[in-house]
Amino acid sequence: MTEQELVRAAAGGDTEAFARLVRTYENKIYSLAFRMCGSADDAGDIAQEAFLAAWRGLPSFRGDSGFATWLYRLTSNAAIDYLRRQKKQRGDMSLDDEELGLDAVDTGPGPQDAAERTEVRSVVAAGLQELSEGHRQVLVLREIQGLSYEEIADVLEVDLGTVKSRISRARSALRKILLQKGNLSGYLPSNLK
């Protein structure tokens, strides 16, 4: 069965077809959730919520975008909602995207540590969690999920130019964070000092 056929079958209520889709995408969706929220437990909840939202929405899914794109969108939105709830629970009522701090996000040890045993990878992963929500989102989609500019534009529902410039700014911001923490030995350009 092709993915399209699986999607159609699942939309008609075929749980086995949906199970195959879940298995196909579980790592990607879980990764996206994990990289967005930084907590293994919460990533599980977010990823599950995204798949359930997909199951509920499938009967009306029109396929204008691909299933994967749609699933990434559901996950990305669920993760952002999670971050906002976290933010709110911490008592800060500001929901401004760019203002959204992530300092209280649990970045403690989790089952993923094994995958991040190299030092560079773990400092970059930690730096990722300090990015703004929007920057982290676009970098995760591009670098970890491997989405093209066009796919990211679909997921985020923004235009291509915005995707390109946001990715570039996100990279710049991430480097700045890592430099400030002393995690990169690079030369700090004057405009970042």
Partner: protein, 349 residues
């Protein structure tokens, strides 16, 4: 000559394999002379390498847990409690727009009562009010329980897939005069002018919310969806007549087949108990399905066993809304004491 910041954008495009040859040549030439950009490039390559291999595996048993939940939901077509709590299928502004529509109609009905409004013009005015309110007010303060517990994933479902069925041309649902609901026929026979189209209003019970901000009017051109909370039946203006939920959702079709043993036919109506009605509505809401919720404002309430908690206030509101339509000598007030409600599920024509 580009600035270093502009070269950073080129470096980003280079990493993504999206840099044109001539730009790449220019970038390389620049980096040969600019240690800052060369360092930026080196760092970005290192970051890119670190990020590229960061996909993590879902925990053991994750897919099984998801599927257990999915199977549970698909077994019990009626949504689980968890779903009801977590799902807000429609943008909240639509709910409030619907509520505002109802308020507008109630206000107009009251106005007629005071002005001895005449049968005939009322329907037009009510229709107009409804149409206006559909595209106007939005409640700014969306903090309620539903909003608290909603997930954007659900909202995304509604946004991404929920904008289909009911067309703009039918924002106001007319009950078919010959709907296969016996009580409806009785009501039409005794209380209504058979040839007079019934006016239906969209109603909702978010009565605690009264702040409307037209600045947030999105003028959304997508087909309208109205939703109401379960408690809407307890509001004053929802206690008379028939509450009709119109949809073309396959879920409703399946529900009718499973719970009523009836075949789903476009235009057909299915009489429900209040519990069944709530069940269907919750099911549709939880799945982000489109539906139109409507009730008549100016008809004699048919007999039903569904509600018995009407307050005096309710009856007053009912009477005042009926006066302009029904001459006072037609209907003794006693007949309206119970003012019950019929619940009808209609397959979109």
């Amino acid at each position: 000559m580009r600035t270093c910041e502009e070269y950073e954008a080129l470096i980003s495009a280079f990493i993504d394999g999206a840099l044109a040859d001539e730009d790449r040549a220019e970038l390389m030439a620049h980096m040969a002379e600019c240690p800052a950009c060369q360092a930026y490039f080196d760092d970005q390559i290192a970051i890119h390498d670190a990020l590229a291999d960061m996909e993590v595996k879902a925990p053991e048993g994750f897919a099984d847990r998801v599927m257990a939940q999915v199977r549970q939901e698909s077994r019990q077509a009626p949504v689980s409690e968890k779903q009801e709590k977590k799902t807000v299928p429609f943008p909240l502004w639509r709910r409030y727009a619907a509520m505002a529509a109802c308020c507008a109609i109630v206000a107009i009905a009251g106005f007629w009562a005071f002005n001895g409004g005449q049968l005939g013009t009322g329907n037009v005015a009510a229709d107009t009010a409804l149409m206006d309110s559909r595209s106007a007010p939005v409640v700014e303060n969306q903090e309620n329980d539903a909003a608290e517990s909603s997930t954007p994933a659900d909202a995304a479902v509604a946004d991404a897939v929920g904008d289909a069925p009911l067309s703009d041309e039918q924002p106001v649902q007319e009950a078919p005069a010959d709907a296969p609901v016996p009580e409806t026929d009785d009501r039409a026979a005794e209380g209504q002018d058979a040839g007079e189209p019934e006016t239906f209003s969209v109603t909702t019970a978010d009565s605690e919310t009264d702040r409307v901000d037209s600045a947030e009017n999105r003028g959304d051109s997508s087909p309208e969806q109205y939703a109401a909370k379960d408690s809407f039946v307890s509001t004053a203006y929802a206690t008379a007549g028939t509450v009709t939920l119109t949809t073309d959702s396959a879920l409703a079709e399946a529900w009718v087949a499973e719970n009523l043993g009836q075949t789903w036919e476009a235009g057909a109506s299915y009489a429900l108990t209040v519990e069944q009605f709530d069940q269907v509505q919750a099911l549709l809401e939880a799945n982000g399905e489109s539906f139109l919720l409507a009730m008549p404002m100016e008809e004699e309430a048919p007999v039903s066993d569904s509600l018995d908690d009407d307050t005096e206030e309710t009856e007053e509101a009912l009477e005042s809304s009926e006066e302009p339509i029904e001459p006072a000598d037609d209907i003794p007030a006693e007949e309206e004491e119970e003012a019950p409600v019929f619940y009808v599920l209609q397959a979109a024509p």
